[in-house]
């Protein structure tokens, strides 16, 4: 079962995730001006919201993480050393 966590300190309230999610998983909390998860059960873990969020404010837990063979191991090795 997918579990979504929002880092409210990071969220800038742009609403991009609300607009972009095809399954209406998010809604804007108008009072806080932050996104909130309202329909977690319909999340299909496409991670389009991750791609659009400017603040990297969400985390999806317990999902199938797709293979990313397009990332060069040499490059990730170098990045790991730097970051």
């Amino acid at each position: 079962m997918v579990k979504i966590e929002i880092d409210e300190d990071a969220c800038v309230g742009c609403g991009s995730c609300v607009d972009d999610c095809p399954n209406n998983v998010y809604e804007m909390d108008e009072e806080k001006n932050k996104t909130k998860v309202v329909n977690e059960d319909d999340c299909m873990a496409c991670l389009s919201c991750h791609e659009i969020c400017p603040a990297e404010a969400m985390e999806h837990k317990d999902i199938h993480v797709a293979k990313r063979l397009y990332i060069d191991r040499k490059v990730s090795g170098i990045l790991k050393k730097i970051i």
């Binding site: 095809p22 389009s48 791609e51």
Partner: protein, 188 residues
């Protein structure tokens, strides 16, 4: 003296007879990785060039190529008119590189929806070599290369179930893509 291309890697030398099947393919994981990346770049640029030359026609060409491959692959498994069994066989045909599941919204009870002489099922593709290739080449999803997988899936399902099928894209994402498979009963 003859001119020699200089390389960092040592060339692998060995004996070989035509009737022998080598017990190892040679090369380390790094060689395979490099080959995969080269292949991804080749296929990606071929797809974008095809689109440049043929416009939207590129989708149809690639779709047909995929469909033919799908029909060929479908011949290798048992025929069935049971959708669940067909999906199981499809997952064997597509393998782990196209890891998919059936998907439904939480308020829907069954995976399949009947609509007259059609059965509709949503498929979520979690792993996809096409997606990886597009991301490696910096190309958008939903382009001609995606049609290779659509064609392949439709071709395989048509072959296994002896029906006509159609696949539509609902959504493409970096980690999964949702597609709707429509099966038209009543034969081809």
């Amino acid at each position: 003296m003859e001119y020699q291309i200089e390389r960092e890697e040592k060339e692998v030398l060995g004996d070989f007879k035509p009737e022998l099947i080598p017990d190892a393919c040679g090369g380390g994981i790094d060689d395979y990785e490099e080959a995969l990346h080269v292949l991804m770049k080749f296929v990606g640029s071929m797809s974008s060039a095809l689109e440049q030359v043929s416009g939207r026609g590129a989708n149809a060409i690639v779709y047909q190529a995929g469909k033919r491959m799908g029909h060929e692959a479908g011949k290798m498994v048992e025929k069935t008119d049971d959708l669940e069994k067909a999906m199981q066989e499809l997952s064997e045909i597509l393998g782990v590189e196209f890891f998919f599941d059936m998907w439904k919204p939480a308020d829907q009870t069954e995976y399949t929806v009947e609509n007259g002489n059609e059965t509709i099922v949503k498929l979520i593709f979690r792993d996809c070599v096409v997606r990886q290739t597009l991301r490696r080449t910096g190309l958008p999803q939903k382009g001609p290369l995606c049609y290779l997988l659509y064609g392949y899936t439709v071709g395989a399902v048509e072959e296994v179930m002896g029906i006509r099928g159609k696949l539509d894209i609902d959504h493409v994402g970096p980690n999964a893509c949702l597609k709707t498979l429509t099966i038209k009963w009543g034969g081809k």
